[in-house]
Symmetry: C2
């Protein structure tokens, strides 16, 4: 069965909805933690469920290299392999090819992208068909089309050619797609150019995907550019399909995305920050290695997560100072819960037509450390 | 309240008993996982309870350096600091001083041991009184006397002088002891010499501690020597007090120890092995990085732990090959459960007067990989 999206309510452009998958239904807008190598670093599936995480993203490029999609297929697919029975979205590998290729060297041809493995430098070729074939074997709930993340800044000429090639790649991937139980999202490209975003959105929608993603650039453009790219594209996306903004996880970006009508987000930020002792709190980000937490026997935040209910900042600081892995684990739980709770609060706000009030209230607190 | 030990039953020299502490009662013989820096690496207290672990050991030397005993005291003691409400035993720091001192340089005087911090090389002095003062502040359930771990091999002369000094240190520590809610164990030394072990045991028992440990050497003597040292000492220990063999965790050593009448063991082995992809199984130790597990979609072992119930060897192998921390976490759960289950099985065997049969059966399987 393909996924099904139901739009429940709107508050301005912000959308409240429901995504029905073969591995459960979740409400949107939703944030997806990243399980790069078939696990969200340090955490079990049970812990993800406990923080309210209803869907995870896993990386096709990484799983292609290790353990290889054939092993995952033999295990019975990614869900069984990683012991996770909730919905999984896999990316196309495109972003990793552009960001992780050894020495950043790559050769983009009509066929696909030639580059070298970030692990052993082995020459590799990823094509739209191969990306889909790998994802079909991984058997995630949602697969993504293979696209080029346009460099930033790029000339109009480059962006136009790339956008057109990404459309041809999307068509090739769709034609190669063979998994009846999996859905496929198209990706809108076009760089920072309004007419290219419009063109890309319209042409991608014509191909009739199960959902649409608004792709970014390969480097991380500034925030205003990102919001602009969303604005340019989103008005051409159908209301009855989910919209996904890739690689976004800063609280302010989640708010801006939801405000513009985005339904799904993913980012390594909560777990990556956690491993470096950085915690989201209602009053902004803090670093637990800071000496001021040495004798701070209060919880990290006013939060309902396992970590905040059971541990103090002094203990968490001790774990990080002593380089104990439990610190990153406990903080990952909190940071993911923080973003998931934000999404819950946003959904509640939308349902009460108070999204903009919630946004202002959140940011007033978040940007003002006491 | 001090701990209370009740001897329930004997099978040969093997003892079935019960240890009552301020933080709960557990049956003996028992294995204690090591929570070096106020956490059993990667695991939560809830996970320890789930595998049947009823008591943990934490390291005085490490906590003295980080975060410092005063911070633990301000947190309300070690239990509150680490969010663990079960019994905790702290060692004296003696073993770490002898094994971890920077450049292995140390100066043993009557006062105590001068050495340099393994973290920053800072000169430090640990005395019997200071070890007790730190442990009193940590507020563990059971504290250990400060002893010298005699080098191996050592001359009779050296061992005799050291054994006598350890007795004087034990007395000084006992006199300095100030925590009414904490119990104190004496440590029998004497190296590999029968008469010194007898002398040390008799003199230590005269001081009337709440329990007795049979201390090893600073380097890890061969197994036969270790068993001999236990044999020499244990017959002079009172039946109504618990006996603890420090730093022992190999399955065969646990069996030999229990057979000789030991009640408690601790070792970093299960967690350290786990971080290096080594797993205990009923058919011996295996290394999960081995290529033969690449497509092995069966559980690690015939075992009731979370890891064995939910994950395959292929998945665990993938986590280790990809250097994902979850691998060490999942394997720590299994390895600890393996030793805890062994202790459960030994207790059952003792209660049925079948300890030697159990031992033979276990070792026949363990030493013969299929």
């Amino acid at each position: 069965m393909k996924i099904k999206y139901e739009l429940t309510k709107k508050d301005g452009r912000a959308r409240l909805g429901k995504l029905i998958t073969n591995h459960g239904t979740f409400t949107t807008p939703m944030f997806m933690p990243v399980g790069t190598l078939a696990n969200v670093k340090m955490l079990t599936p049970e812990e993800l469920k406990e923080v309210g995480s209803a869907v995870v993203l896993s990386n096709t490029y990484h799983l292609w290299l290790r353990p290889g999609e054939d092993i995952v297929k033999k295990a019975g697919g990614l869900h069984k392999f990683m012991n996770y029975d909730g919905p999984i979205l896999t990316d196309s590998g495109g972003f990793q090819v552009f960001s992780l290729a050894k020495n950043k060297e790559k050769d983009i041809t009509e066929e696909g992208v030639h580059f070298k493995s970030h692990i052993d430098g082995k020459p590799l070729l990823l094509t739209p068909e191969l990306s889909i074939e790998i994802q079909n074997k991984l058997d995630s709930d949602i697969a993504m089309s293979f696209d080029e993340c346009i460099p930033y800044p790029a000339t109009y000429e480059y962006a136009k050619n790339s956008t057109e090639r990404t459309l041809r790649w999307a068509k090739r991937g769709k034609d190669a797609f063979k998994n009846e139980n999996q859905s496929l999202f198209g990706i809108v490209q076009g760089g920072e150019f309004e007419d290219l975003r419009k063109y890309s959105a319209q042409e991608t929608v014509k191909m009739d995907f199960d959902g649409y993603s608004i792709g970014g650039t390969s480097v991380g453009e500034d925030k205003d550019t990102m919001y602009k790219m969303v604005d340019y594209a989103i008005k051409y996306l159908p209301e009855d399909k989910p919209r996904y903004l890739m690689g976004v996880g800063e609280p302010s970006d989640l708010l801006e995305g939801v405000e513009r009508g985005i339904d799904m987000f993913d980012c390594v930020l909560p777990t990556r920050l956690a491993r470096h002792a950085n915690a989201f709190t209602k009053h902004g980000k803090i670093n637990l290695k800071n000496a001021c937490y040495k004798e701070d026997f209060t919880p990290l935040d006013d939060c309902d997560c396992y970590t905040c209910k059971n541990y103090t900042k002094a203990y968490l600081r001790h774990l990080f100072v002593a380089k104990e892995g439990l610190g990153g684990r406990l903080l990952s739980i909190h940071n993911i819960r923080f973003l998931i709770k934000m999404m819950e609060d946003m959904r509640n706000a939308i349902s009460e037509d108070k999204f903009l009030e919630y946004k202002k209230e959140f940011l007033d607190k978040y940007n003002n450390q006491p």
